[in-house]
């Protein structure tokens, strides 16, 4: 049976990374739709005790490889083990996180297997595809949907002929949901061979420095986000004051991050984080599709923009036409007034 396989990443404290649990949730939906199993590849030094934590997410089989050379992550040992798992199991779909690990490993695997790989998908669906040239129909294949080229278009990518169909997804794009708290899967140990010795020698880790996560806006209930239209790093300071007043966090577009207005950890969108706050206040943000991909599921959206035709206004519940640098102080005064 050709199943759906999720490559699981480990966080620094040796738990399953959130991105992988999100992929398991999506993988479960795809597997149920296809009537196949959901498998998870779990590679690490000590993973037996965490393998079962995958079951509630609807994982039927955990393909588990345990060896000290598999932790911390290094390309070659993981590549050699995972490509053998894929060659043996022949999954129809393999999903990776679009993290520094997934983006290192997935393309190498795709190259080796000579199959397609679509990066940074924002949606994954099962559908049929008719090849216009050959007239051939491919049933129940993976529709890999992602914004492309400057965000002006949404592309649906398919890999009709090659298997597995592989995709990467950014953290936070898919929802992490318990499928069934009492769901029972099975652990299938993966036999390792001498090939690991050679893979082990390729790259040696001399030292690692793990940083405390200082900025994390993923869970924020209120976000004040600024775009390139804020004009400067100094002007971004007003967003921090605003966010502080209303108990929110500051986010930014890629253009604002690239311009140096704020830290990269605050970037929201296809190549940043995806957020779903109660309230999203977009300040000086025009609303490229890559940015919207990371925030359009916000419960309420307010846009503050001098341009009445900014694309972001179309998805905003409230649009305030004006310069954020004057509107925000007014808003802050009005808010303080109402709290009295």
């Amino acid at each position: 049976m050709n199943n759906v396989l999720v490559y699981c990443e480990l966080s620094e404290n040796n738990t399953i990374a959130d991105i992988s649990l999100e992929l398991c949730t999506k993988g479960r939906q795809l597997a149920s739709r296809l009537g196949c199993k959901l498998q998870a590849a779990l590679l690490g030094a000590q993973v037996k005790n965490i393998a079962e934590s995958l079951y509630p997410f609807g994982v039927d089989e955990v393909l588990m490889a345990e060896d000290r050379r598999l932790s911390p992550y290094r390309t070659m040992p993981h590549f050699e083990v995972l490509r053998r798992i894929i060659e043996e199991q022949k999954p129809q779909i393999v999903l990776f996180g679009a993290s520094s690990v997934g983006r290192d490993l997935a393309p190498r695997i795709a190259s080796y297997l000579r199959c397609g790989l679509t990066a940074d998908c924002t949606s994954l669906e099962i559908g049929n595809h008719e090849d216009v040239k050959s007239g051939k129909t491919y049933e129940n294949i993976l529709m890999q949907i992602r914004p492309a080229f400057g965000g002006n278009i949404i592309a649906t990518i398919v890999c009709p002929e090659t298997r597995p169909q592989m995709a990467t997804v950014r953290e936070g794009v898919m929802k992490k949901e318990i499928f069934d708290a009492s769901y029972k899967g099975a652990i299938i140990p993966v036999a390792l061979g001498d090939y690991l010795d050679k893979a082990d020698k390729a790259v040696e880790i001399l030292s690692r420095e793990i940083e405390e996560q200082k900025i994390d806006i993923k869970g924020a209930q209120v976000i004040v986000a600024g775009g390139y239209g804020m004009g400067s790093k100094e002007n971004f300071e007003l967003l921090h004051q605003f966010a502080h007043l209303i108990g929110g966090s500051v986010g930014a577009t890629r253009a604002a991050v690239d311009a140096g207005f704020c830290e990269g950890e605050r970037q929201i969108g296809q190549t940043g984080v995806t957020v779903r706050p109660k309230l999203y206040i977009a300040c000086g943000i025009s609303g490229a599709v890559q940015h919207r991909a990371g925030m359009e599921q916000s419960a309420k959206i307010i846009s503050i923009n001098t341009d009445p035709d900014a694309p972001i206004n179309a998805i905003a519940d409230y649009t305030i036409i004006g310069d954020a640098m004057t509107v925000i102080p007014q808003f802050m005064a009005a808010y303080k007034n109402n709290l009295k």
Binding site: M76, A110, S111, Q144, F149, V222, A314, I321
Partner: protein, 264 residues
């Protein structure tokens, strides 16, 4: 020591104008200014740094694209690269990352013994970060991705500080190896005036599919497993949007509503 730097000429996505898209939703490449992909420039700098530190280092820049991509070869050589060429052929057209990495790896194989292959982590027109690791696999080289800093280099090994999801690590690999470099690495040095003048008259070498010993079925659209099924122009679904003028009264009402609805 032979170093190959992989580079790409890309549309300047930071300066996309209103005419960037054709009426049919395809990309109007002619209307886009082009630049040396920023992370590839960082990779070039790292390669030139190795050249500064070691004797007998030769840096060759390889790019794939239309003949116009010769501009970045000249640019790279004016900054200190020794040689470069453009892989340009209609048979490469429509290549996804797999077919691209195949063509590039075949071109690199024609260069003889290579000790280091370096390139940007990703190109700003696609952001996939796939071609580096794919070229590494095809050349059967280990890879060090997300490189931020060259820590040490000698004839046998390279030591690199690389970015992790949360933090950094320092890794050492025996040569040959492929390295992809992020935007956090050092900026590239400026072109040298003498070299600029010399390169102005230079003809950049063009290479086609016939001279890289390639299986033609693995090139271009034919060699690309990913197919674009559908392209949609982004049409925004209009929400019931309330448009407010920034008066104190309007903002007062709005904040009162948000507080009442427990949003703030």
């Amino acid at each position: 020591m032979n170093i190959v730097v992989l580079a790409k000429q890309v549309p300047d996505t930071h300066n996309v104008g209103a005419d960037a898209m054709n009426a049919d939703g395809t990309v109007n490449r002619a209307a886009l200014p082009t630049v040396f992909n920023p992370e590839d420039l960082k990779a070039l700098e790292m390669a030139l740094r190795v050249k500064d530190l070691m004797n007998d280092v030769r840096v060759t820049v390889v790019t794939m694209g239309p003949p116009r991509a010769a501009e970045i070869i000249k640019d790279a050589m004016s900054r200190g690269a020794d040689d470069g060429f453009v892989l340009s052929d209609a048979r490469f057209a429509g290549a996804d990352t797999l077919a691209t990495s195949y063509a590039i790896s075949q071109a690199v194989k024609q260069l003889g013994k290579v000790d280091l292959v370096m390139g940007g982590r990703q190109a700003i027109d696609g952001d996939t970060a796939q071609v580096g690791p794919q070229v590494a696999e095809k050349l059967e080289l280990p890879q060090i991705t997300y490189a931020e800093e060259l820590v040490a280099i000698d004839d046998h090994a390279i030591t690199i500080r690389r970015r992790l999801e949360r933090g950094t690590e320092v890794v050492k690999a025996a040569l040959p190896v492929l390295v992809t470099v992020t935007s956090a690495a050092n900026d590239c040095r400026f072109p040298n005036a003498h070299r600029l003048i010399r390169q102005a008259k230079m003809e950049v070498r063009m290479t086609n599919a016939d001279s890289i010993n390639a299986d033609m079925d693995r090139l271009g659209l034919k060699g690309s497993p990913t197919k674009v099924k559908r392209i949609e122009n982004v049409v925004l679904a209009h929400k019931e949007s309330v448009v407010l003028q920034p008066t104190d009264a309007a903002l007062n009402d709005l904040s009162a509503t948000l507080i009442k609805e427990h949003i703030l």
